[in-house]
């Protein structure tokens, strides 16, 4: 039982990071109907920026006695701002001019992903950087289950971010425009809403979430390197699709499902079969529900 609970917590930790990144895929998809394959690398950029900001702020903090919470917040804000800037630049240069050609944008997105990876490789080199601990790691034992402060932090921060996102999407005017654009793209401009503004907003929000994901990932698995975005990116993409791409709640659920499947498969089967099992499970989910769990099949007219 304790073992089961332990795995459950690990799964929630992994799942919440997947969910944060999956949200980015799903939001951009909802607005533009296009898979932003560079998103995994945006996540990597977020993690790298967080790494640099954390190094700087920790040095500053050791001199001026800044509380750890502020250091953490500062790192997160810096990495969010930098990542958003890069994502907006990519959107402007590589996606916007090609917006009406769906397949070409997918390829420029793949290209941008490769570009980001190798720019990072040029800048930081092929080393595996170890992420500095911003929060003192303490392990609590509750009924035989050990929970570290880092796990608590990850779960807490991701839940807060998801609640904020939910509020933005459901309660603000911009959020309403985002929902409207995914509902009917042709009519929205007629209502006086600037599509480009909404697209930029979507990219900003999704890259902020990716940056937070990068920071949290850096805490949980304290290695940062230029290729870290590939695997995590694809897996989050899968969680977005399993949840039903375009659906925000679906992405959250999909992230947690993937976390559970991965940890579960790793606990039951030999660990080198982990990817195999999780992909087989995901394929079967799609075979049963071809448009994901929350996805709605679009009626096609002929």
């Amino acid at each position: 039982m304790a073992y089961f609970l332990q795995q459950l917590i690990n799964a929630i930790q992994l799942g919440s990071i997947y969910a944060l990144i999956a949200l980015g895929y799903t939001m951009v998809y909802g607005v533009l109907r296009f898979i932003n394959f560079a998103h995994g690398d945006i996540f990597m950029v977020g993690a790298l920026l967080a790494y640099f900001a954390a190094g700087f702020l920790l040095r500053l903090a050791s001199r001026m006695a800044i509380p750890a919470v502020l250091v953490f917040m500062g790192t997160m804000l810096f990495s969010m701002a930098g990542t958003t800037l890069i994502a907006l630049l990519i959107e402007k240069v590589a996606y916007r001019p090609l917006r009406q050609y769906r397949l070409s944008v997918v390829i420029t997105a793949l290209g941008m992903g490769v570009l980001l990876e190798h720019m990072a490789l040029v800048i930081v080199g092929p080393w595996r950087l170890s992420f500095p601990a911003l929060v003192a790691s303490r392990v609590y034992k509750v009924a035989g289950v050990s929970i570290s402060t880092i796990q608590l932090l990850i779960i807490f921060v991701s839940i807060v971010l998801m609640v904020i996102l939910e509020l933005i999407v459901q309660k603000t005017k911009q959020g309403m425009a985002m929902r409207a654009i995914s509902y009917d793209r042709e009519t929205l401009p007629l209502m006086g809403v600037s599509v480009n503004q909404i697209v930029s907003l979507t990219f900003s929000v999704s890259s902020c979430l990716a940056a937070a994901g990068g920071l949290l990932y850096g805490h949980a698995y304290p290695i940062v390197e230029p290729y870290m975005g590939i695997m995590v990116g694809w897996k989050s993409f899968i969680s977005a699709v399993v949840g039903g791409i375009g659906s925000i709640r679906g992405a959250m659920l999909g992230g947690f499902i993937l976390g559970f499947v991965e940890i579960g498969a790793g606990a039951v089967f030999p660990s080198r079969m982990r990817d195999l099992i999780s992909f087989v499970v995901l394929m079967s989910v799609l075979l049963v529900r071809p448009t994901g769990i929350f996805g709605v099949a679009r009626r096609q007219k002929v």
Partner: protein
């Protein structure tokens, strides 16, 4: 740029066949005089790929490389092409229609063999180019003609590579080498084609982005599956193949692939594939058997991917499950979209350009992969469907269409 346009029309006035003759002559000249000219110009040896890698390492070599390229390539090709041009129409009218395609292909083969046959590095590059042409052409069937987005092509390539290698290493006697090589490739292709069913059957119900996920998952399942079979080396990889892929094999298979897929796309079943891209439901109501068509298209595409895998394994002589990961699939995608969607000419151009770029920019190391995506994006911004998207060279487009719509060449 008017000058550039002028140059282009000046060069386009000469038929392609004349350039082939020109290249033939220039390759012969290089074979005879290349080495001595290189020593004369102070180059360390015959420049392997037009000296572009050499210039990146030592900029001072630029004048010598330039002189070499002009003397060996530009000048002979241009002069011979100009001289031949008046005789080309007479020559083509002499050749019976049914032999004209084999004639062109044979000539192209001679050029490739003469240019690269004597040079080890060039033949390596040309073999890889052949593999890439097969890959790009077969993926174009799915991503270009059928309009589905497959991101797992490398998985099928992996199946073909492993099956073919196992056959040539463990089953077929080594002495028979080239005799049994096609059998091994075909077996690899057949297994890959069967693996294609893993995507084809879900594709009945699952479409678009969700199908992309299936192809991705299949790629991972194949890769991870191979990693878990200890008998064939697991994640350590598999080796012991003889170097069976050479320029002739690579050329034959890439020509065969382009020819077969081009003919398939023009056949009734191939038209059905295009109809599925345009509108699947409309196609279904027009009595297209979409399920059968999808099975045929996916299996054919993965069959050729398997062939490419077999060829690839016998170029590098070592394969490893992580060779066939998503990175390889992405490379093939780049080739397809660089060259052009729904176009065999596009696949040819894409694969050739991509292979050459990859080899020529080798001295740039990490920066290579910064430059290539930039080039790709810049190109796509100008031509959103790729260089030859939805168009064909005249020698690949069918005759009736060339007559009624004018030549599709560019």
């Amino acid at each position: 740029m008017p000058q550039l346009d002028k140059l282009r029309s000046h060069l386009a006035a000469v038929p392609a066949l004349a350039y082939l003759f020109g290249f033939l002559v220039s390759s012969t000249i290089e074979l005879i005089a290349g080495d001595s000219l290189a020593t004369l110009l102070g180059l360390p040896g015959m420049p392997s790929l037009f000296g572009i890698t050499l210039v990146q390492r030592e900029l001072l070599m630029l004048p010598s490389v330039f002189a070499y390229d002009v003397l060996i390539y530009v000048l002979p090709i241009y002069v011979v092409a100009r001289l031949c041009a008046p005789f080309i129409p007479k020559l083509t009218s002499r050749i019976p229609e049914r032999f004209s395609a084999p004639f062109y292909v044979l000539l192209a083969f001679l050029v490739v063999q003469l240019w690269g046959g004597h040079h080890e590095y060039r033949s390596l590059v040309l073999s890889l180019m052949g593999v890439n042409i097969v890959l790009a052409a077969s993926l174009n069937l799915i991503n270009g003609y059928m309009g589905e987005f497959s991101v797992g092509h490398a998985g099928f390539m992996g199946v073909g590579a492993y099956v073919a290698s196992i056959l040539t290493v463990w089953v077929f006697p080594r002495s028979l080498g080239h005799l049994t090589f096609p059998l091994a490739l075909l077996a690899g292709g057949a297994c890959a084609g069967l693996a294609g069913l893993l995507v084809a059957i879900p594709s009945f119900k699952i479409r678009g982005d969700y199908l992309a996920i299936i192809t991705l998952a299949v790629n991972y399942i194949i890769k991870n599956g191979i990693e878990n079979i200890e008998r064939i080396g697991g994640s350590r990889g598999f080796m012991g193949m003889a170097k069976l892929t050479n320029i002739p094999w690579a050329f034959v298979w890439s020509a065969l692939t382009v020819w077969l897929i081009r003919n398939f796309v023009l056949s009734p079943r191939g038209r059905a594939v295009v109809a599925i891209r345009e509108d699947e439901i409309a196609a279904e109501t027009m009595t297209v058997n979409t399920r059968y068509t999808k099975i045929v298209a996916f299996c054919l595409s993965s069959f050729f991917a398997g062939i490419a895998g077999g060829l690839f394994a016998h170029v590098l002589l070592y394969i490893n499950p992580s060779t066939f990961s998503l990175l390889k699939s992405t490379e093939v995608l780049v080739m397809v979209y660089l060259g052009g969607m729904a176009s065999m000419s596009g696949s040819l151009i894409g694969a050739v350009t991509f292979t050459l770029l990859l080899e020529m920019l080798r001295p740039l190391e990490v920066w290579k992969w910064v430059l290539i995506p930039m080039l790709l994006v810049a190109m796509l911004l100008r031509r959103h469907a790729g260089l030859m998207g939805f168009r064909e060279f005249s020698f690949l487009s069918p005759r009736e269409e060339a007559k009624s719509y004018g030549s599709a060449s560019d």
